[in-house]
Structures are given as structure tokens and as C-alpha cells.
């Protein structure tokens, strides 16, 4: 078990709806894994298993095992605070808090640690540098984050996440609200982050998956149809469904 995540016989129901069926997948460390598939296939649901965000939905039921670094996170004894500190999430719509830029990045430290002002300043600077916002924003750290551009907001959300020091990043269609140039720059950022973080990205956009991911998983109606290296999935898929989806015959 050298993989970062091992999913074993995972089933998930929303009340009566069987949303994920017998999912079996291993996710490698410090790679980008893309989850693709048509709307409603369970991509986001699978992503939200890894930080247990599905728990917030009423009537959700899970069965099976999900190991992250050898620990089964579906265990009822799992400490969700610790888990969510390690497994961070970037959402579809950039959603900074209605606070200042500085306070957005500092939020994680404020709730998790009692920390001095100086080291907090350092963390904010380091995280903003990491997402390449520091040079643009260093003079307006105490302005509201709501006036930034969409791309800057999404970068800020990533910085906010990095401040919590996760090692796994979940990205739920992080570029779907952005224009093509911004998308390209965020993808560039993801490639840089890959050296330090394991990234799982859900995307509607097959070209995006092809551009940035090392491995790709194809989901259809709650089932994992195929999983492998991105080059293999996109050039020589073994299943007919995968080929049909990749070639745009549906989806």
C-alpha cells in the first residue's frame, strides 16, 4: 500500500439513491488525479468522501473503507477536524470570506493555533507568495477580499487552504467560474503545487484533465468505469464507455 489513498468497496447512498457503487481506486502521492464523467455521475460525491463533507448532507450513508496514509477515515472514531486540516478543499465558486485578504489567509491559524502576530504575518506572506498573489496584494492586505477578481479570489482560497498545512488538495471544478486565461494560470499553479501536495481534481472539462493530470478516473452513473494514467485513458481506453465519453459521443 504505497498509494496515498486506497478506496476499498466504497458504497454511498443519499437516502434511497445509490450514488457511488463499489468504488475501488488507489490514488498516488504527489500526482494530480482527475475525476471525469458526465453530470450527476458522482464525481463531486466521491471527492467529498475524502474530507467527509458528505456528512453535512442529511440522510447520507456510507459503506466500505477509505484509507488515507493507512488510516480508515470512514471509521466512526475519525477526528473530522484533524482530517479536514490534512485534506483541504477548493470549491467551484471562489468563496473568500467577507473579511480582509489577510484575515482570509489567517483564518485557519486563528481557529487551530494560538499564534503570535509575527509568525502569523509570516504565514500569510508565505501562503500568498505560494499562490503568486503576494506582489499584487501586499499593499492591500487589509482591504476586503470581496473586491478581488475571480481569479484572485480563487488563488486566495487556495492560499487560505495552504495556511492550514494540508497534504492533500481536493479541487471541485476550481476553474469553472474563470475565463480561459485565468484557467491557464490556475492550472500552472496546480502543476507547481504538485511537488508538495497530492491533488485530486474533479472537472467537467476533458481537455483540462488531459492537460494537467497524471492519472484519470472515469465515473459513470456512480460506477468507476476505468482508472489509469491520463495518457492511456485518453489515447487507448480499454472500455467502450470511456472511449465514447472521451470522444464526445455523450456527456
Amino acid at each position: 500500500m504505497s498509494s496515498k489513498i486506497n478506496v476499498n468497496q466504497l458504497n454511498l447512498w443519499y437516502s434511497d439513491f445509490h450514488a457511488l457503487k463499489n468504488i475501488q481506486i488507489a490514488i498516488e502521492e504527489k500526482q494530480i488525479t482527475a475525476i471525469i464523467g458526465p453530470s450527476g455521475c458522482g464525481k463531486s460525491t466521491l471527492l467529498r468522501v475524502f474530507n467527509r463533507m458528505n456528512d453535512l448532507v442529511e440522510g447520507v450513508r456510507m459503506q466500505g473503507e477509505v484509507f488515507i496514509d493507512g488510516m480508515n477515515i470512514l471509521d466512526s472514531k475519525t477526528d473530522l477536524v484533524t482530517l479536514r486540516k490534512r485534506v483541504g478543499m477548493v470549491f467551484q465558486r471562489p468563496n473568500p470570506f467577507p473579511l480582509s485578504i489577510y484575515e482570509n489567509v489567517a483564518f485557519g491559524q486563528r481557529i487551530h493555533n494560538h499564534i503570535t502576530k509575527n509568525s502569523l504575518d509570516e504565514i500569510v506572506e508565505r501562503c500568498l507568495k505560494c499562490v503568486l498573489l503576494w506582489d499584487d496584494l501586499k499593499d492591500k492586505l487589509h482591504k476586503s477580499a470581496l473586491h478581488l477578481s475571480l481569479e484572485q479570489k480563487q488563488r486566495l482560497c487556495i492560499a487560505r487552504l495552504l495556511a492550514v498545512k494540508p497534504d492533500l488538495l481536493l479541487m471541485d471544478e476550481p476553474c469553472s467560474a474563470l475565463d480561459p486565461q485565468s484557467t491557464a494560470r490556475i492550472e500552472e499553479l496546480m502543476r507547481e503545487l504538485k511537488t508538495d501536495y497530492t491533488i485530486i481534481i474533479v472537472t467537467h472539462n476533458m481537455q483540462q484533465a488531459a492537460r494537467i493530470s497524471d492519472r484519470t478516473a472515469f465515473l459513470l452513473l456512480g460506477e468507476l468505469i476505468e482508472h489509469g494514467t491520463t495518457s492511456k485513458i485518453f489515447t487507448n481506453p480499454t472500455k467502450k464507455d470511456t472511449e465514447d465519453y472521451i470522444s464526445g459521443r455523450y456527456g
Binding site: 474530507n51 463533507m53 453535512l56 442529511e58 473530522l80 477536524v81 484533524t82 482530517l83 479536514r84 486540516k85 483541504g88 478543499m89 470549491f91 465558486r93 468563496n95 470570506f97 467577507p98 473579511l99 483564518f107 485557519g108 486563528r110 481557529i111 487551530h112 476586503s144 470581496l146 473586491h147 482560497c157 487560505r160 487552504l161 492550514v164
Partner: protein, 281 residues
């Protein structure tokens, strides 16, 4: 009749009905200002009532009302806000929750004199607080609780769910999320509701009648166990219980009460509009 004609008639009747709303409000305000304004002097506001309340000022009643109302906020805001947070953030939709909501709605519909009687039996007699600022404030607090709870819940629920989701995803607990993210965005709405409640409390006579209001008390209360004069009750007394009170003193008292309540509502409106301007999501 053709549809054009009925349309015209409908429009006219509906417009008239709307216009009729303005009339009594306008008249009340105009008459009170016209008759009460001559009494508005600095002395009227800062002097005690003299010559069996036929002269002098309303200072003890004004201060008494402020004390009582302030006490009511002190009790009602923490309890109301706590209940609102519990109801909107911590409970799920089930039988007990619906029962609580129903109770709150009904609490808002109870006539104020019933609160007065309840306060008298419960705080004055049972807890032996006597007729005092404490009893009066507690009684008013219960009366404005539904207003504060309802307004606070609306304010809490208007904070977008996505903020909570992000906060949880960063490992924040429910309480941390509420404290750091939700409350900050809900405070203007909560304040607005509180001020509206307080405005209502300041003008009520029945709840304070048995629990705190003194007929005539020339000195200011010293502790929360003292009785106090209050503006609405003072107005009632000089209008019906004391003969030959000069009209301008009566209307002057009414005007002060009106200004007090109007001022509070104005503050609530200002806070709300400021908040709307700043809201960006």
C-alpha cells in the same frame, strides 16, 4: 361595464385604501407635535414633576424608561440570540423543533397585559422581586424575546451556506464557524431586530403596570429593586388619574415618548441600509 372601466375603479379604490393609511398616522403625529411642542424645553426634560404632576418635568419617567428598557435588552438579547443560534444552526427539522417555533410565534401573539399579569405573579410575587426595575425588565424581556429570536434567525439564515461549508472544510468546528464567520455577518440583522423590540418595549404600558411603574416618585431609583416611573405609564396617569393637568404637559410627554421610539426605529433602519450597501455576495 368593460374591463377598462373596472380597472380604473379598482385602481382608484385600492389607491384610496392605501392613502387612508397615511391619514391617521399623519394626524397623530401632527396633533402631538402641534400640542406638545410648546412644552419642549430643557427644563421639561430634566426637572422632576411638581405640584402633583401639574407642572415641572418628566425626568424620572424618562430615566426610568431608559433603565427598564436597558434591563430588558440585557436579559433578552443573550437569551434570544442563544435560542436563535440553537434553532437555526444546531437543530434539524423535527417535531420538537416545530413545536418550539410554534411556541415562539404564539409568544409574539400574547396580549401585553397578559405578560404584565404573568410578570406580576412570577417575578413580583413568586420570586419576591417586588415591584421593581428587575421585575419590569424581566417581564418586558419575555415580551420582546420572540421579536429578537425571529429577527436573529432570519439574520443567521441569510448568511450563505457556502461560507459555512468552506469553514468546515478548513477544519473549523460548528461553534468556531458560527463565532468567526456567521455571527459577524448576521450582527446587523440581529441589532435591527433588537432595536425594533426595544422600541416596542419602550412604549408598552401594560407589562410594566403591575411590575415596576410608580405612580409618582420624585427621586430616581437607586437599585434594581426600586420602583421607577416610566413614560407610558406617566402619560396614562397625567391623562386620566390626575385632574387639571395642562394639555401641553400631556402632549409634551407623548411627544417625548414618540421621539424616543421613532429614534430607535431610525437607528434600526440606518443599520439595515448600511448593511445592505456593504453586502456583496
Amino acid at each position: 361595464m368593460n374591463s377598462k372601466k373596472t380597472e380604473k375603479i379598482a385602481f382608484f379604490v385600492l389607491f384610496l385604501a392605501t392613502l387612508l393609511i397615511i391619514l391617521p398616522v399623519g394626524l397623530v403625529v401632527c396633533i402631538i407635535i402641534q400640542k406638545g411642542f410648546p412644552a419642549m424645553t430643557w427644563q421639561f426634560l430634566t426637572d422632576i414633576p411638581r405640584q402633583g404632576m401639574r407642572a415641572g418635568g418628566i425626568f424620572p419617567a424618562l430615566v426610568g424608561t431608559i433603565y427598564i428598557v436597558f434591563g430588558a435588552i440585557l436579559f433578552a438579547l443573550p437569551i434570544g440570540l442563544g435560542a436563535a443560534i440553537y434553532l437555526s444552526e444546531y437543530t434539524k427539522e423535527h417535531f420538537l423543533n416545530r413545536l418550539i417555533k410554534l411556541a415562539i410565534v404564539n409568544l409574539a401573539g400574547v396580549p401585553s397585559v397578559v405578560y404584565g399579569l404573568f410578570g406580576f405573579a412570577f417575578f413580583v410575587i413568586f420570586f419576591k422581586f417586588g415591584a421593581s426595575i428587575l421585575s419590569g425588565s424581566l417581564t418586558l424581556a419575555i415580551m420582546i424575546l420572540p421579536i429578537i429570536i425571529t429577527a436573529s434567525r432570519e439574520a443567521l439564515e441569510s448568511v450563505p451556506y457556502s461560507f459555512r461549508e468552506v469553514s468546515y472544510s478548513l477544519g473549523a468546528s460548528k461553534w468556531q464557524t458560527i463565532r468567526h464567520i456567521v455571527l459577524g455577518n448576521a450582527i446587523p440583522g440581529i441589532l435591527t431586530g433588537t432595536i425594533l423590540g426595544v422600541g416596542r418595549a419602550a412604549g408598552e404600558t401594560a407589562p410594566i403596570l403591575f411590575t415596576v411603574a410608580a405612580f409618582y416618585l420624585p427621586q430616581l431609583p437607586k437599585t434594581i429593586f426600586d420602583q421607577a416611573m416610566a413614560l407610558p405609564y406617566h402619560l396614562y396617569v397625567i391623562s386620566t388619574q390626575v385632574p387639571n393637568v395642562d394639555e401641553k404637559i400631556r402632549y409634551g410627554t407623548a411627544l417625548v415618548l414618540l421621539i424616543l421610539v421613532f429614534f430607535m426605529n431610525l437607528v434600526a433602519i440606518v443599520i439595515r441600509t448600511q448593511f445592505r450597501k456593504k453586502k456583496k455576495w
